[in-house]
């Protein structure tokens, strides 16, 4: 009797699980038109579920919708930051023979072989956000991190009136952050030489660590007028340090990216700004490039048999301030990221 129950339960769960498959939503949308053959585009990311990538996917969905409803898109990838798992996902997606693949790589090398195999199978691959530059991917859509750092530098210079001592909080070794720090320093050297970067701190990408190193920084050097964090967790840590030392009025804090903690601090004025890039646009353009690569024109491109794509597209960055968040529409965008199932 118990065996039958167990067997029955098993089959019931299985059946419902697979029935769920039937409703699972590769998204299709868009206006009708002449019957075109179905196309599938897969976006492969790491840390699937991360808000940033959900924005990229939202951009991809809208771009696909604007082309036609014969296009299906899907989001794949491991929930963890494991480059080997992501490489395997790319291989699995390749076995489905999609029309195009968009990939944000967990690191710069592990996915190279998998991307190469997809390209060899005739599937265009477009890199976005985190690049695998030597994989042979046809193009890359992302943020120009030097420019990102320069945006922060420009804002810092304006807020400080062109002079003072500043520090950078970052994770050394993370390429995007190294580039942002580089861009920050170079802009200051060329345009505001009276602002000196006196310290570069390793906060390990963690808000508690950031608070610790910023406290030590501010205590040892009360002349610090500004702190720039190259990642999303540094600004809240710096703000906490400045608050404890009663130095919030004297220190301009500019962060990178955003989170609900950062939004709150922007609204309260504890941090003066955060540089944000445009993941929605990045996802949108990455899809457009994949589509272009999958539809060559009569004029041969630089990457035959694929279609014409530029080598790189940058999505731009801007400073987000508390003032901008007073606009309901802007606030809504940052507080309500898209949900992806």
């Amino acid at each position: 009797m118990k065996r039958k129950i167990a067997l029955g339960l098993t089959l019931a769960v299985l059946a419902s699980g697979l029935a769920g498959c039937g409703n699972a939503a590769p998204q299709t949308s868009g206006t009708g038109g002449a019957a075109k053959s179905e196309e599938l585009y897969s976006m492969v990311v790491f840390t699937k579920g991360a808000e940033y990538f959900n924005w990229c996917y939202a951009g991809m969905k809208d771009a696909a919708a604007s082309i036609g409803d014969h296009i299906t898109v899907e989001l794949q990838g491991p929930a963890e930051w494991d480059a080997s798992l992501e490489a395997r996902t790319v291989e699995q997606v390749t076995a489905k023979n999609p029309t195009g693949i968009l990939v944000a790589s967990a690191d710069e090398t592990t996915l190279n072989a998998a991307i190469g195999k997809a390209l060899d199978a005739g599937i265009p691959v477009i890199g976005f956000d985190s690049d695998a530059a030597e994989s042979g991917r046809l193009s890359y859509v992302g943020t120009d991190n030097y420019d990102f750092g320069a945006t922060a530098a420009k804002s810092m210079a304006e807020m400080l009136g062109g002079e003072g001592e500043v520090a950078i909080c970052m994770v050394p070794g993370a390429i995007a952050q190294e580039e942002r720090a580089e861009g920050f320093k170079n802009w200051l050297e060329e345009n505001a030489p009276d602002i000196k970067v006196v310290s570069e701190l390793n906060d390990e990408g963690d808000v508690a660590k950031s608070e610790t190193v910023c406290t030590a920084l501010l205590q040892s050097n009360p002349n610090i007028k500004g702190i720039f964090s190259t990642h999303g967790y540094g600004a809240p840590g710096a703000a906490a340090a400045a608050r404890t030392l009663n130095m919030l009025e004297n220190v301009v804090i500019i962060g990178s990216d955003y989170s609900s903690a950062v939004i709150e601090l922007l609204q309260s004025g504890d941090i003066e700004g955060t540089v944000v890039d445009d993941p929605y646009l990045i996802g949108y353009e990455a899809f457009m490039l994949a589509y272009a690569a999958a539809h060559p024109t009569a004029v041969p491109s630089a990457n035959p048999p694929f279609g014409h794509v530029p080598p790189v597209i940058y999505g731009g960055s801007q400073l987000l301030t508390g003032e901008m968040l007073e606009d309901e529409a802007v606030l809504a965008k940052y507080q309500n990221p898209p949900a992806v199932n």
């Binding site: 076995a95 710069e108 993370a174």
Partner: protein
């Protein structure tokens, strides 16, 4: 064990296998209908490649769990091994020597794990979790978060080696699976693991060197995780602290789905693990092939794990009640 009990226990295992086989057939059938690409050669290759590392580690984990313990260090040993191998190769250490050194390091870690477990009287879950955390911290410190690349060409070429059309990782797995399967039925030491896991005191009283057995079990599991780490480095020509994240959960789920009991030692089988491995590989491939949402994936995996545990424990209760 009298004849009736032996038949019953055979029936118990067979029923679990039957259910697993049935599930495998059902999922395969459904996927074959839903997607024209599921039963293609390239997808079947990918299906195996996706789960081959977990498959290798599941063999060692089976023995650990049968002995009454558990090994969470594998999620730390896998990336650690890939990183140490890469660093040795980049420092011109010959390949064979580098591999041996990595395996030796893993054996040392396994020994340390067991020593801590025994001397501190800590549950293996606690000890192995702590060691995994330490290893992951070491990995991050050594690599600074970036992947190691620029490995020697001769090593990179290994990734493309095919023997009988199969990559090195498949060959290694086939050999290990055959060894484990055969030994689990015929080798005295393997059979002792069952005994110790079932009743440690009785085993000790009957003269089995229980402490040495525990140590060896953890050494084997650690070594297989190192093998997986080495093969991962070969497959991707790269080493990173991110490899193997949450592999411990996937491996333990595999072993549990195969019928090895997580709650009582001494009960389980390598054959069950092989079936569990096949099942997990198919399910993970089916997830991507069908495009179902990640959230459903976790629910489905968890549900199957619960069912597998209920099945094996439920049958045990049934057996105890009857005898």
């Amino acid at each position: 064990m009298n004849k009736r009990e032996r038949i019953f226990s055979v029936k118990q295992i067979n029923f679990h296998y039957l259910v697993l086989l049935l599930l495998i057939l059902i999922v395969t059938g459904v996927m074959a209908v839903r997607s024209p690409y599921f039963l293609t050669g390239s997808n079947l290759q990918v299906l195996i490649d996706t789960f081959i590392m977990e498959a290798i580690m599941a063999l060692g984990m089976t023995m650990v769990i049968i002995s009454g313990g558990i090994d969470l260090t594998i999620a730390g040993i896998l990336p650690f091994s890939s990183i140490v191998l890469a660093l040795l190769l980049m420092n011109k250490v010959p390949f064979a020597a580098a591999v041996l050194l990595v395996l030796l390091a893993a054996a040392v870690i396994g020994t340390i794990t067991n020593t801590l477990r025994r001397s501190l009287h800590l549950h293996p879950m606690v000890v192995t979790m702590a060691i995994a955390a330490v290893l992951k911290g070491v990995d991050l410190t050594i690599t600074g978060g970036s992947a190691i690349s620029g490995l020697p060409d001769s090593f990179v070429r290994l990734g493309s080696v095919r023997i009988l059309g199969m990559p090195v990782s498949w060959i290694v797995y086939i050999i290990l699976a055959i060894i484990f399967l055969y030994f689990s039925k015929n080798n005295r030491w393997f059979l002792q693991v069952f005994f110790v896991g079932g009743n440690e005191d009785a085993a000790r009283l009957s003269g089995i060197k229980v402490e040495a057995l525990y140590r060896n079990v953890y050494i084997i599991s650690a070594s297989l995780a190192a093998v997986a780490g080495i093969l991962t480095a070969i497959t991707y020509s790269s080493a990173s602290y991110s490899y193997g994240t949450n592999a411990d959960l996937r491996v333990i789920t595999t072993v549990a789905i195969g019928g090895t009991s997580l709650t009582h030692g001494g009960s389980g089988s390598v054959a069950g693990t092989l079936l569990g491995t096949l099942f997990m590989a198919i399910i993970y491939n089916a997830f991507v092939m069908s495009g179902i949402s990640t959230y459903y994936q976790d629910v489905v995996t968890g549900a199957f794990l619960i069912l597998a545990v209920l099945l094996s424990e439920g049958i045990k209760v049934l057996k105890e009640r009857k005898s």
